[in-house]
Amino acid sequence: MAGNGGEPRKHTVSVLVENKFGVLSRVAGLFSARGYNIESLSVGETLDPSVSRMTIVVTGDEFVIEQVMKQLHKLIDVIKVNDLTDDSHVERELVLIRINAEPQHRAEIMRTADIFRARVIDVTPVSFVLEATGDEGKVEALIELLRPIGVQEVVRTGKIAITRGPKTRVKRAPTSRPRVSEDPRVVGFAD
C-alpha cells in the first residue's frame, strides 16, 4: 500500500526475541522477503539470558512501518515489538576509526578526539584507532572532521536504544538456560 502513508522517515524498532538459533535469520529474512530496508541492526542478550534484544533502524512511511511491526510480531520467536521513535528514549552507537597518524597530525587528532570524548585505544607509528560513542549525528560529525586527515577504516555497531520511562520487562523463562558466554564452544567474548 505504497504512496499514501506520508513521508518515509527513520524508525528505531526494539524487538525482544527468544534467544534461539535462527532468530536473526528469521528477522533478516522477513525484511528481505518483503522488500524493507534495514539501515542497521544490533543484537544482544538482555538481563534474562533466554531473551535477546534487537534494535533495528528501518526507513519507511507510516504504512510500511505498521506492516514491519505486524510482520515482526507475527514471527513465532518474537516476544515484543516496540517502535521507540516517538517515545522518550536515548540512543547510542559505537564507532571504531583507524586513522593516519603522521606526527604532524597527531595533535589535531587528539584535540578532535577530546572534543568528541573519543579515546585513542591503539597506537602504531603511523596510525591511531579511536573509539567513540554517541548518537548518529555525533558519530557522523566526528568521521567528517577526521576525514581530511585520512581515515583508513570505520567500523560502526549500529544503533542501540533504550526507553527513558518505565523499563520493558519480560517474564523469566521457567527454566534458566546457560548463558551463551559460558558455553565453552563460544570464543571471542570480550569479557
Binding site: M1, G22, S25, R26, A33, I79
Partner: protein, 581 residues
C-alpha cells in the same frame, strides 16, 4: 523409560491424534520407517514424489479440520516438499512436515543428501524447528502441532537429524503448550464489533466479502445466520467457496478477476464492505485504488498483518471469525435498523437481482464440441453439489469455481494463493484418505494434471478411488487466454498436443481410463465414472478456444470486466491497461 528418537516421534504423532501419514522414505528417515514397521495405529500412505505428500496432507487437513502430516527424507526430498509448504502457507492450511536430516555432526559438511532444510523452508512455513537434542522431540512436536492449527493456521516444518532418531531418549510430553511469544487473539474487540454492527445496519448497499478464514474457523453457520439476519448479500473468494451456499438467494458467488459480474459490481458500488477471513488479494481487488471506492471497510481477520496491508481498513477486528461473527450477530440484534436503511437495502437487493438477470454466468452451447463449462455443470448436477471437489490450476479451476454449485464447507480444495499446478491429484488423495466413503472428484487440466500424474500409482496401490476429470484443451489454456486477449494472439509455448494418451496411461497405472469427445457422451461418461469403485481418469476433449469470462485484466479495475470474447478494440484496451501481471 527410554526409547529411540524415531519411536518417540511416532508416539508423539499418536498422542496428537494423527491417524494417517503421507510420506516417502529415504536414508535420513530410515530409523522412523524402521520404527513404523511394527508400530500400530498409524496408516502410512506411500506417495511417488515428495510434493505429493505435502499436498495430500493439505487435502487431509482441509477436509477434516485436523493437522495433516507428511514425512520425507533429507536434501532433495525436502526441496521437493517446499512447493507444498509454500502452498499451505499462502492458503493457511495446517500441516506438520517432518524431514530427515544428516546426523548432527555432519550438518554443514555438504554431506550426502544434505540441504539446509530449515534455512530453505524458513520463509515457506509459519515456523520451523531443527531438533538438536532427543529430549526436545516431545516439546517441539507438541509446539509444532499447536502452532500449525492455532491463530492463522499454516505449515510447520520439523527437521530431524538421523542420530537424534537413533539415540535413546526420554519421551517428554508437556500437557499444555504455553509460549510467551505466541498468543493469538481470538476474541474481537467489543467496541469495534459494536461499530461494525452499527455500520452494517446503517448501510444502504452493504456486501459481505468472505474468504477461506470462515472455512478454517468453521464459521459458516454464523456467517449464514448473520447474512440472513441482516439480509446482506454474500460474495466469496476462491478460497471461501462453500462457506455460503452458491444457490442461496443472497449469494453473489465468487468475486475478483474471474468473479461474477454481479459480485464485482456489488462490491464496487457498496457503501459498507464487511471482509471476513479474507485478505484483499490482488486477484480479488484488481486495481486497489478502484476497489470498493465508496465503501467503509470492516475487516475481521485472525492475522493482524492482513489488516490494512493492501487496502486501508476503517473498522479492523482482530479475532477468530467464528467468535467475532457470533458477537456481531448479538450486537446486530441489540441495535435498531431505521426504515430508510431497510428500504435502502431492499433497493440494493433489487439492483443486484437486475445485475444477475442482465449478466449471468454464461457460455455458448455447441452440438459438436464439448464446452468445458457444460462438463462442470453436469458434474455439479449429477453430484447435487455434494461431492468433494479438488482442482488443479488454470482455466478448469476457474470454471469449476464458477459453475459448480457448492452446498457446504470443507468440500472445495484448490490452490488459491500460490496457484500450484499439479495440486489436484495428490490433494484429492489426501481428501479421499480422510473420507474413504465420499465421492472425491479432481477436476484438472491437461497441463496441470501432468505435473503430478505419477500419483495415479498411489491411488491404485492405496485404494484411493479418486475420480479425475481432465478438461483437455490440448494446451496451457489460461496462458493461451492471456496471449489471445492481452498479448495480441502471439501464442508462444502453450501447445500440448494429445500426448500422452490419458486413457492408456490410466490403464498403465492400474486405473480406469475413459474418453469423451462429443457433448452427448458427457453425462453417461460422468455417470459411469461416478459408479466405478476405482480410480478413474475421464479425459474430456473440450473446445480449446474457450476462455474464462468474466475476466478482469491484471491491474485493471474490477468494473472493467471483459464479459465475452473481445473485439479488437477491447483487446487493445486490455493491452494498454496491462499494468499488473
Amino acid at each position: 523409560m527410554k526409547l529411540p528418537g524415531a519411536r518417540v516421534v511416532l508416539e508423539c504423532l499418536k498422542r496428537e491424534g494423527v491417524d494417517i501419514v503421507f510420506g516417502l522414505p529415504g536414508g535420513a528417515v530410515l530409523p522412523i520407517y524402521d520404527a513404523l514397521y511394527d508400530f500400530e495405529g498409524l496408516r502410512h500412505i506411500l506417495v511417488r514424489q515428495e510434493a505429493a505428500a505435502g499436498h495430500a496432507a493439505e487435502g487431509y487437513a482441509r477436509a477434516t479440520g485436523k493437522v495433516g502430516v507428511c514425512l520425507v527424507t533429507s536434501g532433495p526430498a525436502c526441496t521437493n516438499l517446499v512447493t507444498a509448504l509454500q502452498d499451505a502457507m499462502m492458503d493457511s492450511i495446517p500441516i506438520v512436515a517432518f524431514t530427515g536430516q544428516v546426523p548432527t555432526h555432519l550438518i554443514g559438511n555438504d554431506a550426502f543428501q544434505e540441504a539446509d532444510n530449515v534455512g530453505i523452508t524458513r520463509s515457506a512455513t509459519k515456523h520451523n524447528f531443527l531438533v538438536k537434542d532427543g529430549k526436545d522431540l516431545g516439546p517441539i512436536i507438541r509446539e509444532a502441532f499447536h502452532i500449525a492449527v492455532t491463530g492463522r493456521p499454516g505449515p510447520v516444518h520439523v527437521d530431524l537429524p538421523k542420530d537424534i532418531l537413533v539415540k535413546e531418549t526420554e519421551l517428554i510430553w508437556p500437557e499444555k503448550v504455553t509460549m510467551r511469544s505466541y498468543n493469538p487473539n481470538y476474541d474481537g474487540h467489543p467496541g469495534q464489533i459494536k461499530r461494525a454492527a452499527r455500520a452494517m445496519l446503517r448501510a444502504r448497499k452493504p456486501v459481505l466479502y468472505v474468504g477461506g478464514g470462515v472455512i478454517s474457523a468453521d464459521a459458516h453457520a454464523e456467517l449464514r445466520e448473520l447474512a440472513e439476519l441482516t439480509q446482506i448479500p454474500v460474495t466469496t473468494t476462491l478460497m471461501g467457496l462453500g462457506a455460503f451456499p452458491s444457490a442461496h438467494p443472497l449469494s453473489l458467488e465468487m468475486l475478483g478477476m474471474h468473479g461474477t459480474y454481479y459480485a464485482n459490481m456489488a462490491v464496487h458500488h457498496s457503501d459498507v464492505l464487511v471482509a471476513v477471513g479474507a485478505r484483499f488479494d490482488d486477484r480479488v481487488t484488481g486495481k486497489v485504488d478502484a476497489f470498493a471506492p465508496h465503501a467503509e471497510i470492516i475487516h475481521i481477520d485472525i492475522d493482524p498483518s492482513s489488516i490494512s496491508k493492501n487496502i486501508k481498513v476503517d473498522v479492523p477486528i482482530v479475532g477468530d471469525c467464528r467468535r467475532v461473527l457470533r458477537a456481531l450477530i448479538e450486537a446486530v440484534r441489540q441495535e435498531k435498523e431505521d426504515a430508510a436503511a431497510r428500504e435502502g437495502k431492499q433497493a440494493w437487493r433489487a439492483q443486484i437481482a437486475e445485475w444477475k438477470r442482465d449478466q449471468p454466468l454464461r457460455y455458448e452451447w455447441s452440438d459438436d464440441v464439448i464446452k468445458p463449462q457444460y462438463v462442470i455443470q453436469e458434474i455439479s448436477n449429477l453430484t447435487r453439489g455434494e461431492a468433494m471437489i479438488v482442482t488443479g490450476v488454470g482455466q478448469h479451476q476457474m470454471w469449476a469455481a464458477q459453475y459448480y454449485k457448492f452446498t457446504r464447507p470443507r468440500a472445495w480444495f484448490t490452490s488459491g494463493g500460490l496457484g500450484t499446478m499439479g495440486y489436484g491429484l495428490p490433494t484429492a488423495m489426501g481428501v479421499q484418505a480422510a473420507h474413504p466413503d465420499k465421492q472425491v472428484i479432481n477436476i484438472d487440466g491437461d497441463g496441470s494434471f501432468q505435473m503430478n500424474s505419477q500419483e495415479m500409482a498411489t491411488c491404485f496401490t492405496e485404494h484411493l478411488p479418486v475420480k479425475t476429470v481432465i478438461i483437455n484443451n490440448a494446451g496451457h489454456g489460461m496462458v493461451r487466454q492471456w496471449q489471445r486477449i492481452i498479448y495480441k494472439e502471439r501464442y508462444c509455448a502453450i501447445d500440448l498436443p494429445q500426448i500422452p494418451d490419458w486413457v492408456k496411461l490410466a490403464e498403465a497405472y492400474g486405473c480406469v481410463g475413459l474418453r469423451v469427445t462429443k457433448p452427448s457422451e458427457v453425462v453417461p461418461a460422468i455417470e459411469k465414472m461416478l459408479s466405478t469403485p476405482a480410480p478413474v481418469i475421464l479425459d474430456v476433449i473440450v473446445d480449446k478456444d474457450e476462455c474464462v469470462f468474466p475476466m478482469v485484466p491484471a491491474g485493471g479495475a474490477n468494473t472493467d470486466m471483459i464479459l465475452a470474447p473481445p473485439t479488437r478494440e477491447v483487446r487493445e484496451q486490455a493491452a494498454r491497461s496491462q499494468t499488473g501481471f
